[in-house]
């Protein structure tokens, strides 16, 4: 298999606790099933605790890539959080970069304490648009939802966007391999929701866990 660009560089950006690592693992496992070399560079440790988290996912048909994307070389950015998507641009963005972003903010503590300001989301999306080729907003979390499986909704959006050439079947198999059986169904639904959201189909039911008995 050949890629339209080799290596193809994807950054998944978000905040500790949003499931960034699982998202990159689903994509990377699917890529291996597609017969590609894939390298996922990610940091955690302090980043688990509400800090910015960024996974670098690099696909190649030729060789194993290093774990870090060079400056200005992000082809695709998936933002699990809007300001974190924008934060990536200075180091990794270029005018050909394509962005898929969830508009739901997670506020940094310096914003909560009043030392910094969180700009309006519409402005963040507009600024993104000034720096990249394409921005697609995917409402992975509806008003009042807790954000359960929103990371997988965004993976679904990536899969549905056609930006990476990995078959739906391989994404699904990847999830079957990684997820525990009890979480699988919910996540497959979340994935499908993401696919449909980016393809612009309306009326998607909310993702919720089956009710527990009281």
């Amino acid at each position: 298999m050949t890629l339209e660009k080799d290596p193809l560089n994807l950054i998944i950006a978000g905040v500790g606790g949003q499931g960034n690592i699982l998202a990159s693992q689903i994509v990377a496992t699917a890529a291996i099933k597609e017969g590609l070399y894939v390298t996922v560079g990610e940091t955690y440790g302090a980043s688990q605790r509400g800090g910015p988290v960024m996974s670098h996912v690099r696909f190649s048909a030729q060789a194993q890539c290093g774990p870090l994307i060079p400056e200005g070389e992000a082809d695709i950015i998936v933002g699990l959080e809007p300001i974190e998507a924008l934060r990536i641009i200075a180091d990794f963005g270029n005018p050909r970069t394509r962005v898929i972003v969830s508009p739901r903010p997670i506020y940094p503590i310096w914003v909560l304490s009043g030392q910094a300001k969180y700009p309006p989301v519409e402005e963040i999306v507009q600024k993104l648009g000034e720096f990249v080729a394409e921005v697609r907003v995917v409402k992975a979390i509806e008003e009042g939802e807790t954000g359960l499986a929103a990371n997988v909704v965004m993976v679904g959006a990536l899969a549905g966007s056609g930006m990476v050439h990995i078959g739906m079947k391989n994404f699904e198999e990847s999830m079957r391999e990684i997820m525990s059986p009890k979480d699988l169904d919910l996540n497959l639904r979340a994935f499908k929701k993401g696919v449909e959201l980016i393809r612009g189909r309306a009326r998607i039911p909310a993702i919720s866990k089956p009710r527990r008995h009281k």
């Binding site: 905040v15 500790g16 606790g17 990159s24 693992q25 990377a28 496992t29 291996i32 070399y37 894939v38 390298t39 996922v40 560079g41 990610e42 940091t43 955690y44 440790g45 302090a46 980043s47 688990q48 605790r49 509400g50 800090g51 910015p52 060789a63 194993q64 890539c65 290093g66 774990p67 870090l68 060079p70 400056e71 200005g72 924008l86 934060r87 641009i89 200075a90 963005g93 270029n94 005018p95 997670i106 506020y107 940094p108 503590i109 310096w110 914003v111 909560l112 304490s113 009043g114 910094a116 300001k117 969180y118 700009p119 600024k127 720096f131 009042g144 939802e145 527990r212 008995h213 009281k214």
Partner: protein, 635 residues
């Protein structure tokens, strides 16, 4: 079934570097694994523990690294294959044993995995553990990608077993915690039984043992000369060569390709970095006039190559060496492809790769002016936030300019805004109580500030007990606050001696912190930090006493608690919250600083962020207006 236990030789799977190391150990038939958790090495023993029953491996989380290493060595002395993994700081903890086991020798394959953390992404230093290999005269292997992580680990057991020495395998965060392609090998049939024979004493004939150790190193050097992990890529005629190892390999290859230098710059990739495969290196440097050495962090390979070049000056002639000493690459922080490319550009006088300057300038301006910074903080529901709030309040009430000595764990974040800037020192495991125990003896020099040493529960068992004994024996004025959240939370909640379960999740006996303290003869109180006013009062009272005292703030890590129990849902009753008219100065969102509480700009009142809140309820006890309330009781 996970990829670790897949019995499908030849199948390619995605593996984290640490998992690949664990798989290599499994393919080598590892029998025994003892470790203390530490980023980035934690997932090696964790992976082995996960499949321990399937492969008849004994796996434990030990009290600290030296105990782990000694236990693993015991298995080796009994003829088994054993692995111990640790972060770079852990190697210091076992250094004392390391410096004698090298002389006394080992039997079954014994591999020490040192996980280094260039740039200290999750550490208090970025020391380069490779120096221990040279220091202790032990063989050192450095995997450069995921496949090598697996294959080299397997080979490391053979190297160790053949020599009768521990073999050090050095990984770094960007390998250990990255994921990539690994082609699986065969799973062996394990047949070893344990039996101790012989004598392993360091100290009886040290000089002779030391000389024999040097001979062993020469012996392994011969094997290293032919290793598949040392290779050269590029033109045989290249006058310019990059010498690299470990993480430097992929960065170097990409940098050379990005600059289109494949024909002109060769890459000498070395997997066996101590002792160096000298003949192999000399063979590939015969036509070379310039070398760039690419490695993380210290100029370890660089210096060793320079020594070799000096020794071979007659045959090799003058060779220019670039790297840390020449200033082309830093001897600190982690590397990346850009740094290697920049070094090549500057040495060879090339044009820089084009990234539109205007674009970058505009993007950086935007980042500065528009994007709020995001610092790591305590998780929502974290007991440390409450504990540090109590400490801050008690010290303020006390009013004698008291301060906190810090230690290693999640609560280290308490040095920043998350913990109200309370921690004033942070060094190594146990360093906080050690320092405090010294501060507590400065009375005769007019020192009158109260000192609080904070220490996590896992850290307490690991390294704090000798200092506490010292404080007791010398009646040092110190208040130790043990932040007991029930496990080793920083690395993913591995059990410790107080947890009550073992590495495989089976029930285990507990050693209680308070019993240790009482045995030492120190006053100890146990409080729930979520009962904040009580916690503050007790801390204040204890600050008024002399001699060593211990407060245990006990409350389980909320990441674990929230997983196990359905939590309550809280909300701000906006009828009760009167916003800025309250006079609390937005206590919940602005002062207490929990990311689960945000400010509703429209209503000008506080609001719970349902995506972030985990329902611990501490804010409800602190809100002066009583406006934070439970939505519906949990099961």
């Amino acid at each position: 079934m996970g990829t670790l236990e897949l019995n499908q030789p030849g199948k390619t799977v995605l593996m984290m570097g640490d998992e690949a190391i664990a798989r290599g150990a499994i393919e080598a038939g590892v029998d025994f694994c003892a470790s203390y958790p530490g980023t980035p090495a934690t997932e090696v023993p964790e992976s082995l523990a996960r499949v321990a029953e399937r492969f008849n491996i004994y796996a434990e989380w030990s009290t600290n690294e030296i105990v782990a290493f000694e236990a693993a060595t015991a298995a080796s002395l009994a003829g088994l294959r054993a692995l111990v993994a640790m972060k770079q700081n852990g190697v210091n903890v076992c250094a004392d044993f390391l410096m004698t086991v090298n002389l006394a020798g080992t039997n079954g394959g014994l591999v020490l995995v040192a996980g280094d953390d260039p740039s200290a992404i999750s550490s208090s230093n970025e020391q380069d553990s490779r120096n221990y290999a040279r220091y202790a005269d032990l063989p050192l292997l450095e995997p450069a990608d995921f496949q090598e992580a697996k294959d080299m680990t397997k080979w490391a057991f053979e190297v160790s077993e053949k020599l009768g020495l521990p073999c050090i395998l050095r990984s770094v965060t960007r390998l250990s915690h990255s994921r990539g392609n690994v082609k699986l090998g065969e799973l062996p049939e394990k047949k070893r039984t344990a039996k101790f024979e012989g004598v392993y004493i360091s100290g009886a004939f040290v000089a002779a043992q030391h000389a024999a150790l040097h001979l062993k190193l020469e012996q392994v050097r011969e094997d290293f000369e032919a290793s598949q992990f040392n290779f050269y890529v590029g033109s045989k005629k290249a006058k310019f060569v990059i010498a690299t190892c470990g993480s430097g390999w992929l960065y170097s290859r990409e940098a050379v390709a990005a600059l289109g230098l494949e024909g002109k710059v060769g890459i000498l990739k070395i997997g066996t970095t101590w002792p160096l495969p000298e003949k192999f290196i000399i063979d590939h440097l015969k036509n070379v006039t310039e070398i760039l050495v690419v490695e993380e962090v210290d100029p370890f390979l660089e210096q060793n190559i320079k020594i070799l070049l000096a020794e071979q000056a007659k045959t090799l002639g003058p060779v220019e060496v670039y790297g840390a000493k020449s200033g082309h690459l830093p001897a600190y922080g982690e590397l990346n492809q850009d740094k290697v490319a920049q070094a090549l550009v500057s040495i060879k006088g090339l044009k820089t790769r084009a990234r539109d300057e205007k674009y970058v300038e505009k993007a950086k301006e935007l980042a500065l002016a528009f994007i709020p910074p995001r610092m790591p903080t305590f998780c929502t529901g974290c007991p440390h936030r409450a504990s540090l709030w109590a400490i801050k309040s008690a010290l303020k009430l006390d009013g004698r300019d008291g301060f906190v000595t810090g230690d290693i764990g999640c609560y280290s974040i308490g040095a920043g805004p998350a913990g109200y800037f309370q921690l004033k020192t942070i060094h190594c495991m146990g360093g906080g109580i050690g320092l405090a125990n010294g501060f507590g003896k400065l009375e005769q020099f007019a020192f009158n500030q109260p000192v609080i040493a904070v220490c996590g529960d896992s850290t307490f068992y690991h390294a704090a007990i000798p200092a506490l004994i010292n404080a007791r024996v010398h009646n040092s004025n110190v208040l130790m606050v043990v932040l007991d959240n029930g496990g080793t939370a920083m690395t993913g909640f591995q059990p410790h001696p107080g947890s009550g379960f073992d590495a495989l999740g089976r029930p285990a006996p507990t050693v209680e912190i308070e019993n240790i303290c009482r045995g030492i003869g120190v006053e100890v109180r146990i409080r729930d930090p979520f009962e904040i006013s009580q916690a503050v009062q007790d801390l204040y009272d204890m600050l008024q006493e002399d001699g060593p005292r211990v407060m245990v703030f006990r409350r389980r890590c909320f990441r674990i608690e929230a997983k196990e129990k359905l939590q309550k849902k809280y909300y701000v009753d906006q009828a009760k919250c009167i916003g800025d008219d309250c006079g609390c100065a937005r206590f919940c969102s602005r002062v207490f600083n929990c990311p689960g509480i945000i400010w509703d700009q429209e209503a000008q009142k506080a609001k719970i962020d349902e995506v972030v809140c985990t329902g611990c309820g501490v804010c409800a006890t602190l809100c002066p207006g009583g406006a934070i309330v439970v939505r519906g009781a949990a099961s």
